[in-house]
Amino acid sequence: MTDNRMAIRQVELEVLRYNPETDQEPKLQKFTVPCVNEWCVLDALNYLKDNLDPTLAYRWSCHMQVCGSCGMMINGEPKLACKAMLRDYSGVIRVEPLSHFPIERDLVAVADDFMAKLKRVKPYLIPGEKRTLADGEYKQTPAQLERYKKYAMCINCMLCYAACPEYGLTPKFIGPGAISLAHRYNQDSRDGGRDERQEEIATSEGVWECTFVGACSDVCPKHVDPASALQQVKVASTVDWYLEHFMSWVKK
């Protein structure tokens, strides 16, 4: 195992800085950071903070692509900084906070809106059939698990919101991440809460705000495929409407 992955390389980082107490508006600041080739952008930021500028603010924790803290725009693309490998970049790397969210400071985006929307779509099991612990587990076959599993992989990193132009233009849009999680529970064989959730998501602020740009699925680091979830909710909601208006004798 000998190659240049341990070689040192000077990386030019352009970081969007904003401190509400000292700056009127954000501006890019350039740093030259000595990096090991195999590092990711997060490693470069950590080096920067420890050695060049301790005032830089950003979120990070797990460094293994699962906690969802370090979402940021890297060369204009929403990425997890721990998944953006330096080997995939040449030239200057521009790092900015996630698009479409207000900037609290530097690379830290205000997440309040996402958190409120998540809660609003009731992303928890509303049991179809009540069971007590004494009754044991709900049976769920591997096929039933497969129906929703992909949508359960969401790490709430908000990259899809930063990619979605609809969310940028119409912040009322509940957005890809939260709707995908609602869909995840709608698809769960143990769940009976679809009607409650549809009231939130099969609405003009919900899926009908989506024009199927598909950017959310392109940037999702966990292959959740929110675009798919949203289109399926649209299809289901359309079917609901037809059943209700033309075939009211058929039970959903």
């Binding site: 990070w60 797990c62 906690c67 099991l125 612990l133 587990e137 591997p142 143990r190």
Partner: protein, 585 residues
Amino acid sequence: METIQADVAIIGAGGAGLRAAIALAEADPKLRIALVSKVYPMRSHTCAAEGGAAGVIKPDDSMEQHFEDTVGGGDWLCDQDAVDYHIHEAPKELLQLEHWGCPWNREADGSVAVRPFGGMKIQRTWFAADKSGFHILHTLFQTSLQFPNITRYDEFFATDLLVDDGRCQGFTAIEMRSGQMRAFRAGAVIIAGGGASRMFPFNTNGAIKTGDGMAMAYRVGAALKDMEFVQYHPTGLPNTGTLLTEACRGEGGVLYNKDNYRFLQDYGMGPETPVGKPELKTMELGPRDRVSQSIWHEIQKGRAVKTPWGDCVWLDLRHMGEKKINERLPFVRDICISYLGIDPVKEMVPIRPVVHYMMGGIHTNTKATTSVPGLFAAGECACVSINGANRLGSNSLVEILVFGHRAALSALEFAKSVAPGNDAALTAQADASQAKIRALFLRTPGKESIAGLRKEMTDTMEEGCGIYRTQEGMEKTCAKLSELRRRYADVALHDKTNVYNTDLLSALELGSMLDCAEAVAMSGRERHESRGAHQRMDYPERDDSKYLRHSMAYYNGLEPPRIDYLDVVITTSPPGVRDYSGAKK
């Protein structure tokens, strides 16, 4: 300073904190619950756990067997009353998660599937592919959203506990987005702040795991118990330290040295078992302490694989095939490709042991009660002593549930029994806590930097408190930590602003880690025996006559902690020999 009043306040919103919050909310819909965390709940490090959670559910299993595996795995340093409670509650908690929607892997008939895990004699590890912790955390977080009486304070950094009239009545915390300090007042406080493995340079832990909860309790007089027992996980990526779950071996992965020899058979874990047909509780399914120690020995003997990141051994998953790897270990595959550029479907992966978990923590009893009235603790920050000297993989994801729940019940009972506190005294304490932070802002930067001190701390921890330890090495580390704690008093901030000041948080986290690190080194220095994860070159044997006892470290200001001992609770299993050879039966 704004004061926030709650009935029960919880510090930490990972698995244990969320479980506690839900239990409280269910117990009493009128209860005011404050859930305070320095990160959003879903960023908590529970999300990084991969392999699974152990609970007896299958007909071939028994409580006795889970008990025996756990107590033996812990080298008889477990409190057996706690283990007994833990294993009996485990299946209920895991089933509860299933009822809340956790996507556990399933058998063809729809029942929950289990997988083999290290040190467990029967398959009993419930799992959700290799993202079990992630799914547990998100299931708990999402479930918690339906309770209106859980008020979350996300990105609030707790700094000091308020203790008056002989009991804990709240704490101070910094609202990170504004930099303002808040006083939380509560009838009872639960700490669920996680571990402290970031005190080591090479670890699997997230940046947030800096022992803040442990240190906070320690500073108000709660004992840190068994801190010398630090778990090295055998299979970390050699460059980033990223965890490759024990399920790699549970699902059939094997370990080779540079000569493609399955060396574990040389360390009491043989004879060799067929590749791809793992046998429980032997070879690659030995306990973590033994497997990590074996790798250390192979490295000493010059039989390691030389890599740009140092000496490693091979983890081979190739025989499992792409389909099974994608089904059971997709995350492991992603991580190997991302950070190492190696696809485990096609190549062997170099791995080396990495600091993963602290068996020690805030001393609690089986009711999750600490020695400070009104203060409760659960999860990795606590030491209820189910893990003893070495935790078995998949016991901790259950521990956060069982004892998070238990802490809630105890805290509720306590909170209902107490009268309102002394307002003036608590206000004075909160003001004093704020003054400490203000002093940090007023100090002018000198030659001590946060990153510099942190580096010196992690280096000395690795040197003195690694897999194998000596008196001399630990003495040096103790002296160094003592020096670092004094120098820490000169650390100043470069960032003097209020909004999301991570320079300030780094300083506070460093302080927590230094306090905890000294407890680790001092407890280790005083334990003159080898047991579980605490291996001494100079005292290679277990010594039950002197050390069948828990180390108890008590905070002593700038001086090193006072070390005391507490007898281990033995109920049915007297200390015996840990046998991981496959030839037994």
